[in-house]
Amino acid sequence: MYRKIISAVDGSFHSELAARHAVAIASSLDSQFVVLAVDTGKVESENLSYAVEHLRQHAGTYGIRAKGIIRKGDVVKTILAVINEEQPDLLVLATRHGEHRLFVSSITQKLMLKAPCAMLAVKPSGIAKKGRSMLLPLALREHATSELLMLTSSLAKFYSYRVEILHVIEFPRWYDLPWIDIYTMRQKGEENMAPVADALKVLGVDVEVRVVVAESSINAIPKEAAIGRHSMALMGASRRGILKEVVYGNPIERMLSGILCDVLIWRQKL
């Protein structure tokens, strides 16, 4: 349960869009909401105050009383210091616009590695929501922790989305397999994901499971997001995975840049 959520903004529209998702979660879970702006001297302080005030008002329209904080200093250090003071359960921030590398050498990546609370990095695509569904890619059933399910249901309910659980079974040259083998793999995948779907149904979410056999998830997830015309994709990440990406480079970035809807990358608390 996220009792307190901090959303870090930098005056850009993208950070506001990320914060709106934080408001959505706070509204669904009845959480406390804190808007934090770090003044690094690069953005006029009036703009930062406006951004914080604007978001407080936005939260107010959903009945949330938000606290606003503006601090001077280095972005990462200041955010970590505020986390230490406020002890939030979730930190929400946007992956900065123009940052082609979403994790590596970015603020998001540093915070993903260091912030002790759960974290949600948002790559927004547009402003308004008009779609009807969100994608929840899951490689393993075990990844669907109760926390992720709660987060999914809070977003789905707020935006009235149907959730499509996407389970990609990676198989090289799958197209050479007899159809019956592919069918069986898919059936097993559906059975495997059924408990996750059931758990989401219990939370009051309209859910569907889609199992795809493909060469790699890196291509399959953007394809499904595009063909299914989803409005949002919520993906889990692990700290270990992020560390590995720092060392080996990150194919996930290629995938993220290929998804046109809002992408939310969630990491559980450390």
Binding site: F13, L177, A226
Partner: protein
């Protein structure tokens, strides 16, 4: 909250803007945040790099090795001919790469098509003033104004609409203008308060707030879908990869084994190199890729003549394995031409063609805004059909009447009326939905004159309406009122006289029933997915023979169905009515999950996901949008369902033909390889030179193999069940027939000819022959000639797999006869012209030597005829 559901003030708040628009400063900031409002193109590998990638295919790598070895051998032995051989091999690599490139080449124009739909300038309100700015500078939150004739620059939510109608056809394919509103909307239907970039205003004007620009717009997403998504290779491409791998393993394996044997028995390095090159060149079917590409290209030309345009050559063959066709109704199954088929005048129904001039038809002409210009009827389709049908009986009557007034049609009133004057007579004619018109009538016009409308009349009219509706007709009722003196507009449409009903429909195309029957025989299921009403769709499905009593599922019902329920429904006869493009995608996906090979038709941009997802996406050439055409694998130039069936037939024939020429090409690999094995194992002088192998593969055999690819579809091609998903092109029987049966006979011919010439020239085993010895040149020439002669017989026999050649007719494939003629001319030139003799190391053959080879050709023909006879018997006994 979704943007379509928000109230006006909330729209401004959500998009953080005001009625005065954004300030210039805010707009600049958002431009840097969201980027320009443009459709970006994915940076894909340049054509040159795509072409270059084929230079590193497995076949190419093998040939690079062979060429490299030849260069090395040439350099070591200072041998010019080896160096020339190396250059020849490198040329082959380029030829093959070129053909593969063309086979996979596909003009990617989707984003160009979309770009054309984007306006250059747009009208926006910034800082309270209306200004024109380049459309690429529009940002989310901008307040835009679109007027009659304007293209919409970005996706936006309408906040003010004044008689605002859009042409959404580039996005949805709907030809009729769509009214737009400014009120909030909830629910699952497509919202009428949104406008999309690329669509055009046809009437009125609207003010809207932009919520998505560039790639985030609906058009952007479609562009992304068409250019980003990689598709799995087609079965043919997979088979070619498989063949390449098998051949690589064989060549490299044989190369290593015999190289080692050669080394151990003391063959010189030079000879051993020659051997390794020979084994590689003999095993690689150099002519295969050009033949595949040229045959596919010929097939696609044949299909184009039948109005099916293939986008990518490799898509020809998967068409043949389609076992489900999901098709639209309007324009594909039907003619997309509304026709006034029946008129009903109380209480008699008759065909329009047998009608006589009457007041109902006069009403149909006068209460109508369509007009006839020359041969064309211009106007809304229903009105145009009424005018055309009625005028065919009544002739030109409009000029006799003057239109005094009109009460326009609205969707709320569901009727329209006109007041018309002829001399001193003033008459109101009304038309509309039968229930609406009937409710306004107090009297009825019958053959005996006008009398009061009774309940019994209403009952009879109701029964007739049900009967027409059950046959999928669109019904328009007509009424009249004689006006005495002046009139009050609001009281005009009261106390009317019921004149009757016109029944219209879009008739099925004439070719469709036969095509449907063909599909049924061929084991192909047809599923209609239409936006039309259930009854209309069912009537058409019945009439053309698709299904008698199909289960009808509407789009809404489909949304509520579980996957297993849908799978179960798809097992039987099913029809989808009032379906949206998203429904089409779900149906296609479910069918694919069920293991079906699905062809699907589409015309709007919204259909692009389904077209992309299907095994074969079929776009409409006449009515379709450019985007749908770019997402598809095939375009129907005449939008006709029967054309899809013809294309399937060609696709099936293509699969058979590829098998034919693979058998043909693979057969000559054995006689090409045997001389090298004998050279190493038995130290027999090399009977066939590497260049001679190349001239067979890329010279003499090319024309006949392409001709085999042009073999006409067999009569039973559409009476067989569809090929199973995953059925191999290169099966064990195909391999055994070419390698161990036909190939062995050809090798026997080649080596017998070789031995015959050497023996008659006085050679005995153990004697070495120099490369320039006339006897040796003649001996290699007869090996080459033997392969060519037996390949002529092979070309004929490969035309059928089980059927007797005599029954199929020896001379029925004219292309093959021409191919054989080319083959004969080529071999004669190689054998008898001094220039070619020098290049290929040949010498003239005598008549007796040619005659020596002929029995082998006959043997091959008869042996294969015998095999076919056995195969037929086995098949009969099995069945």
């Amino acid at each position: 909250m979704k943007i379509q559901a928000l109230a006006r003030e909330d729209v401004f708040r959500e998009l953080d803007t005001t009625e005065q628009g954004l300030t210039e400063k805010e707009a600049r900031k958002r431009l840097s945040d969201f980027g320009e409002n443009i459709i970006t193109e994915r940076k894909r590998a340049s054509r040159l790099i795509q072409f270059a990638s084929h230079l590193a295919d497995l076949f190419a790598v093998l040939l690079w090795i062979a060429g490299g070895l030849a260069l090395l051998a040439g350099w070591l032995g200072n041998d010019t001919s080896m160096r020339n051989l190396a250059y020849a091999l490198f040329a082959v690599i380029f030829i093959n790469a070129l053909f593969t490139f063309f086979q996979e080449y596909r003009a990617e124009k989707a984003s160009e098509a979309l770009k054309k739909l984007m306006p250059y300038q747009a009208s926006v309100i910034r800082g309270g003033e209306e200004i024109m700015i380049p459309a690429r500078q529009i940002v989310p939150g901008d307040v835009i104004i679109v007027r009659d004739g304007d293209r919409v620059p970005a996706d936006a939510r309408i906040i003010k609409a004044v008689d605002f109608a859009m042409d959404n056809s580039p996005l949805t394919g709907e030809s009729e203008p769509q009214m737009r509103k400014d009120e909030p909307e909830s629910g699952d239907v497509e919202p009428a308060n949104l406008i999309y970039s690329g669509t055009t205003t046809v009437r009125g004007y609207g003010i809207a707030v932009v919520f998505a620009t560039g790639m985030a717009t609906e058009f952007g997403k479609i562009a992304h879908l068409t250019q980003e998504i990689e598709e799995a290779p087609t079965p043919l491409q997979r088979e070619l990869t498989f063949v390449t791998r098998v051949i690589t393993i064989i060549s490299v394996g044989l190369g290593f084994i015999f190289f080692a044997i050669g080394e151990s028995i003391g063959i010189s390095l030079q000879d051993n190199f020659l051997f390794a090159i020979g084994i590689i060149v003999a095993n690689v079917p150099e002519g295969l890729l050009p033949t595949v590409t040229l045959s596919l290209s010929l097939a696609s030309q044949r299909m184009a003549k039948r109005n099916a345009l293939i986008k990518k050559l490799a898509s020809v063959e998967p068409l043949g394995s389609a076992n489900v066709i999901c098709t639209d109704k309007t324009g594909t199954i039907t003619e997309n031409r509304m026709t006034l088929e029946y008129i009903y005048m109380p209480h008699e129904s008759r065909e329009t063609s047998q009608a006589e001039p009457c007041e109902l038809l006069l009403a149909a002409i006068l209460c109508n805004n369509a007009r006839i210009e020359g041969e064309k009827v211009i106007g809304e389709p229903t009105e145009a059909a009424l005018l055309q049908g009625a005028s065919s009986v009544m002739g030109e009557v409009r000029s006799e009447w003057e239109r005094v007034d009109e009460i326009a049609f609205t969707s709320e009133r569901k009727m329209m009326s006109t007041v018309n004057r002829k001399e001193n007579r003033l008459v109101l004619y009304s038309k509309g939905a039968p229930e609406t018109i009937l409710a306004k009538c107090t009297h009825i016009a019958t053959g005996e004159g006008i009398r009061e409308l009774t309940d019994a009349d209403k009952e009879r009219i109701g029964a007739q309406v049900s009967d027409y509706a059950g046959r999928g007709m669109r019904l328009i009722a007509f009424a009249k009122k004689d006006i005495e003196g002046g009139y009050k507009r609001e009281k005009l449409e009261e106390n009317l006289v019921f004149l009757g009903i016109g029944a219209l429909r879009d008739p099925p195309r004439k070719e469709v029933p036969l095509a449907v029957e063909k599909c049924k025989k061929a084991g192909i299921k047809i599923i209609i997915i239409t936006g039309d009403e259930s009854l209309t769709a069912k009537a058409v499905a019945n009439e053309v023979g698709i299904a008698k009593e199909p289960v009808i599922i509407t789009g809404r019902e489909l949304d509520r169905m579980s996957k297993s329920e849908l799978e179960k429904a798809l097992q039987g006869d099913v029809l989808f009515a009032r379906a949206a493009p998203a429904n089409k995608l779900r149906i296609v996906r479910t069918l694919k999950d069920m293991g079906r090979v699905v062809a699907v038709t589409g015309d709007g941009v919204n259909d692009a996901p389904a077209l992309k997802e299907a095994d074969i996406g079929v776009a409409m050439g006449k009515t379709g949008t450019d985007v749908a055409r770019e997402s598809a694998d095939m375009i129907l130039l005449d939008d006709n369902f029967a054309t899809i069936v013809s294309a399937v037939e060609e696709g099936r024939a293509m699969f058979d033909n590829i098998r034919r020429f693979i058998t043909y090409i693979f057969s000559h690999l054995v006689p090409e390889m045997v001389p090298y094995l004998l050279f190493v194992l038995l130290r027999i002088p090399l009977a066939l030179k590497v260049l001679q192998i190349l001239i067979i593969d890329l010279g003499t055999d090319m024309a006949p193999s392409i001709a085999l690819g042009a073999e006409k579809p067999e009569p039973d091609v559409m009476s067989r069940p569809p090929r199973k998903r995953g059925e191999r092109l290169l099966t064990l029987p195909v391999l055994l027939r070419s390698y161990l049966f036909l190939g062995v006979i050809e090798a026997a011919a080649a080596m017998s000819g070789y031995y015959y010439v050497l023996k008659s020239g006085g050679w005995s085993y153990g004697l070495s022959l120099s490369d320039t010895d006339p006897l040796y040149l003649k001996a290699t020439t007869i090996t080459l000639a033997a392969i060519v002669v037996t390949q002529i017989a092979n070309g004929l026999t490969c035309r059928t797999t089980r059927e007797s050649l005599l029954k199929a007719g020896v001379f029925t494939n004219k292309y093959l006869l021409a191919g054989i003629a080319i083959e004969i001319i080529l071999i004669l030139l190689i054998v008898y012209t001094p220039q070619l003799q020098r290049i290929f190391g040949t010498a003239p053959l005598n008549l007796n030597e040619w005659l020596f080879l002929l029995p082998f050709a006959a043997l091959l023909l008869f042996a294969d005829e015998f095999r076919k006879w056995v195969a037929r018997r086995r098949l009969r006994s099995m069945s």
